[in-house]
Amino acid sequence: MAAVAVVVALGLTGCAAGNSDTSSTGGSGGTLNLGQIITVSTFAAAQSNWANESPYMQAVYDTILTADTTGAIQPGLATAWKYNADNTVLTLTIRSDVKFTDGTALDASAVAQNLVRFRDGAGPNASYLANMTDAVATNATTVTMTLKAPDPAMLTYLSQNAGLVEAPSAFTSPDIQTVPVGSGPYILDTADTVVGTSYVFTKNPSYWNPTNQHYDKIVMSVFSDPTALLNAVKGGQVNATNTLNNTDLAQMTGAGFTANPLELNWAGLTLMDRDGTVDPALKDVRVRQAINYAFDTASMLKTIENGLGTTTTQVFPANSVGYDPSLDSEYTFDVAKAKSLMAAAGYANGVTIQMPSSALLGQATLTLIQQQLADIGITVEYTDPGNSFIADVVGGKFPVVYIPLQQGGDWELIQFLISPTAPFNPLHTTDPTVEGYIATIQKGGSDSDQAVKNLNKYLVDNAWFAPWYRTQSNFVTDANTTAVVQPGNAVPYLWNIKPKS
């Protein structure tokens, strides 16, 4: 199974390190039939997801800020934003000409209420705003956010689900999860929508930013089955869609669709037990380095992903300021070197490590891991935690895990994978060097970029992970449609899917 399908099936967030280019200006009108590989879990902004669910949310809501196709922050509902000197107070200037679809005005108070609700809403990404002490409307067009500490990713969060603004009138609605009331470019047609299957949106006639309305109507149809999706593409039932795997890509392009590639995740091992808490062997950096030398990543990429992707030793994406191409040759496939490192670490006679398995990860990949680690004297014993896979992994039950993981922005990645409180650092490993780099990055300023570079190199040298490659996923568009992929997101942003001029 392709990584993207694994990501969806395991409930992971797919994020992309996509390339960027300029989008063509198309005409407008007509209907966009957009294929979706996942249904929307909720329309309630405070509990919302992003990634593959972003098109649903972007149809009906505005975000406080937006991001362009290079990932740079642009105005949204906020026309201006400014930090104080130590980056702990963010002042946002909110537009005064926006109305919700229920006719009420969108003002600073509505924005502030949404921020607090998102933080307290127990949604999947509530942690994005955990750092926020408060958000208050100081007047009708000004919101002041106070942070406990600087957060370099905050502006990005405000361009995603943490920045969605829902009408306060909907907060007490019993239908809040299925009937959105926003200020976005489209309105959900609940009469024609079949929850979980197809969602129909019609153009919001009084939208404040008509340049982002490329269609009169958008129909988002959910295809969780690869065969159904392929047939819909071949039958011309979708104009654009994300794909569930790369296996059907040739048939899709053969049907006249264009593949828009993006490198969505990295695949490899997360060597979580760097202190040897669960498995003492993992404490020795030489064992972790040996694991990096053990994998023939080029062959694996060919075998598992049909060659679609790029081999790497780094968890930071290619568009990160910390990415260093020279590091990608740090660990070449070298069984002899791996064995000598194992022997030097005192494991010449081998060692056994426990790993979680899941049918969703693909048996072939799990077998390849077992075989290649066996070649350097490491016996892998798999346990299948079933539906508790994620819970057990982020609960710190295993020293090592294979799972495709997202490559977001630098600070998001640090918060997700590297910091002592990161969900994918469940054994809370850290050291003064890492802490120092993270502190510098958090403060921002001129040293920040170099600190990301240093941190990335440190993680590669000390083998915190054993990455194999970045996997390529593809968003496909028909002859009448163009799309520009979005760095840091599984699918293009909705306004970047347009009719071809």
């Binding site: 879990s41 509530a126 929850v195 039958g235 539906n387 508790s388």
Partner: protein
């Protein structure tokens, strides 16, 4: 008769309670950390704990079940944990879709099976062998392969139908018919095979009975003998097979709905079960059990109508 119906309905209620209890227990045994599954990988442990508490997952299992049951008997099946939609709304919007597929496939199975079965039984020789071969093929080829073949030929290559999707009858009766044609054929083929064999065998047996010779000797036409008298006697076993087929088709609909991206109960059952959406799966279990109980009761009544001996027993 009324007492028979009431007795059957009472046993149906017991059956539904037992099935729902087993389903509830099984769902929790294999569901792992549900709150974590709902929130995904990025949620913090605190958020997960908050979610679990808000769903009442920290209560004892029997308390959760009794809570569900007490609401279910009032018609409140709760809300989907993954889409926020009320379960009753999710099911009512989909039950007609699946029933239109399954009833359509059952009707086609019955009609085609009667035609083929009677033809094979009356003609024997090559028509009989041909029907036998068709039946074996119908049994042997998996439903999903038939579905894929139909899509490839009639939707992708010939463009006679759309490869995926469903049109509501109220929106466009013609569109509705076009959208269910291929899925119904894919579902019906397996059913036709089973029922044809049953009808063929029953008709051959019936044709050897004395009453058939008597009827013929009184000058009744062969068609009248077959379609008025023989089929009435042969209908009982065929109806029993059809009832089993109907229930089987509910299962078959799961695959067909996935392939054709049809918003029926089968499609949502796959998603809900994979996710561990307990309220939605429980709702589906109850509704499916009700359908099965009602269908079996109707079949019994129909058999009694066709065969007075059944009524006496």
């Amino acid at each position: 008769m009324l007492r028979f119906i009431l007795r059957r309905l009472a046993s149906g209620v017991v059956l539904i309670v037992v099935i729902s209890t087993i389903a509830f227990a099984l769902l929790y045994v294999g569901s792992g950390d549900i709150a974590r599954r709902i929130l995904g990988q990025t949620a913090t442990a605190d958020t997960v704990a908050q979610k679990a508490a808000s769903l009442g997952l920290n209560r004892p299992l029997y308390t959760q079940y009794l809570d569900w049951l007490s609401h279910a008997v009032t018609g409140n099946l709760g809300t989907s944990w993954f889409t926020g939609q009320p379960v009753m709304a999710a099911i009512t919007s989909r039950v007609a879709v699946t029933l239109s597929l399954v009833i359509g496939a059952t009707l086609i199975s019955a009609i085609v099976a009667v035609i083929l079965g009677v033809w094979a039984a009356r003609r024997r020789s090559w028509p009989d062998r041909l029907v036998q071969v068709i039946s074996v093929l119908g049994f042997a080829i998996p439903g999903f392969l038939i579905a894929l073949g139909l899509v490839l030929v009639f939707a992708i290559n010939l463009h006679w139908f759309k490869p995926t999707g469903f049109v509501q009858f109220a929106t466009s009766p013609g569109g509705w018919l076009a959208s269910i044609t291929l899925p119904v054929i894919a579902l019906a083929i397996g059913g036709i095979a089973g029922v044809t064999q049953q009808i063929r065998g029953s008709v051959i047996d019936a044709l050897r009975q004395d009453y058939v010779r008597t009827l013929r000797s009184r000058g009744l036409s062969a068609n009248r003998v077959i379609y008025k008298h023989v089929l009435r006697n042969a209908g009982g076993p065929a109806l029993a097979v059809l009832a089993v087929q109907f229930v089987g088709l509910l299962g078959g609909a799961v695959i067909v709905e996935q392939i054709f991206a049809i918003p029926g109960l089968g499609q949502v059952a796959v998603t809900a079960t994979t996710q561990g959406d307990v309220p939605l799966v429980m709702g589906l279990v109850v509704v499916t059990a009700i359908i099965v109980v009602v269908v079996n009761l109707l079949i019994d009544l129909l058999q009694a109508f066709l065969n007075p001996k059944v009524r006496l027993s």
